[in-house]
Amino acid sequence: MTKAEIIDAVYEKVGDFSKKDAAEIVEAVFDTMKEVLANGEKIKISGFGNFVVRAKKERVGRNPQTGDPIPISARRVLTFKPSQVLKMVLNPHKQKGSDAAALSADVRPAGE
């Protein structure tokens, strides 16, 4: 799926504005997200997931070919953590909560 297909979906579903308008509004959604993330702020989209900027310290890496140590500078990276809802949508065969229930049942020590 590309941005053009997202724009099509918005145009068809929301309607009542031109394709150009739909494109500009969708563009505004991603531009806004980019600006917020560039500021280091996280974005929480309920039902989809969280975009979080993490600060990484400087550390030593290695050239995988030579094994030579090379410094990896401090940096900020963007990570995405999918929501439980999205994970569930991708795994419909898994019964809702069954794993968690099975796990917590196992976790409880028999003697307690």
């Binding site: 560039a38 600060a55 400087e58 030593v60 994970k87 794993d99």
Partner: protein
């Protein structure tokens, strides 16, 4: 920023009503969710791409009891940040690139080299 704050920001930016902005933002994430559900990837130029990764079933262990636990096969969404956004996010500590002083490096983290 939450989804409702994103909706407000987009409404202001494009001078549209909040309810309209809400419909658009919801449709965007619904469309993306549907694509991932179908196993399709999503590519937003300048922002990033989403792919669906398949994980095989494996036998794990309950860390508390040590009992073996069957972990079923699963699909998980994976996000790879786009070049433009990656650079935007990292723009602030750019000055740190100049002189990586080896004295402050932490050799403990060697294992997780991208």
């Amino acid at each position: 920023m939450t989804k409702s704050e994103l909706i407000d920001a987009v409404a202001q930016r494009r001078r549209i009503t909040k309810s309209r902005s809400e419909q658009v933002v919801n449709t965007v994430f619904e469309a993306m969710t549907a694509a991932l559900e179908n196993g399709d990837g999503i590519e937003i130029r300048g922002f990033g791409s989403f792919t669906v990764r398949h994980y095989k079933a494996y036998q794990g262990r309950n860390p508390r009891t040590g009992k073996p636990v069957e972990v079923p096969a699963k699909r998980l969404p994976f996000f790879k940040v786009g070049k433009e956004l990656k650079e935007l996010v990292n723009a602030t500590p750019a000055e740190n690139f100049e002189e990586p002083s080896s004295a402050t490096m932490d050799p403990v983290n060697v294992e997780d080299i991208g």
